[in-house]
Amino acid sequence: MIEEAGIATVILNMMPACQPSVGAPRVAAISHPFGRPYGEVGDAETQRAVLRAALSMLESAKTPGEVVHLPFRWPEEPKATKWEPQEPSPIVAMMLQAQRRE
């Protein structure tokens, strides 16, 4: 809808697997954890580099739906990376409760 208003957009996306069903105009795919797409707290250098990489797709992408996989690596292993909320989200809590009842 933003594109239809005549504005070029790029999605900084941690889940590029969604692209076939979403059909975003441009996707900059990044292997960062949920909640910190641009990088770690206080890491201005990475945040700036990620923003710059996403922005550059506004210029470089020539065909609708292009996906570029960005080269950034998260410094922690997934198991050591905390991104989930302190308390389970309402829908997760509901599912856990339903499982316990089974």
Partner: protein, 171 residues
Amino acid sequence: MTKIPEVDSWRFLPPRLARLLQARLEASPPATVIPFTPLPVPLSRARIALLSTAGISCPPDPPFDMESERANPMWGDPSWRRIPATATGADVEVNHLHIDTSYAKRDLNVVLPTQRLAELVAAGEIGSVAPSHYSVMGFQLDQSQQLAESAPAIAASMKAEGVQGAVLAPV
């Protein structure tokens, strides 16, 4: 030259949640139309806005509604907020029940890099920052209201402020 590996969408997800989301994705129909608007000017002259799905609000605007989601776990607040481009972490609230929001509260730039964008403008890499950035709250099982109301309102606001390019970052 080393080849850049493809991003693994499931890397940070617990296996059960990954399977659940994978099944949901496989059941989704493929997109049929992909919109595409070229950037009308080079980046060094373009006006840019940012959008985050982190549930950011700027008082006195009301925060995203978490209480209604607690009462109805299938519902997510579909509204949107304007974030002044000059806002820093001290000026905003972050409400989203599906991620650890403490990182965004400590450094807004991890989800909405307002300071980083201002730096790129100061360095001459980007033309200008739009007066407003935007946030929605990303947990939307039913996207109809967000698509019918928030998306066109955000698009119209961007248009009114002369935005030429936007970076959208789901969290």
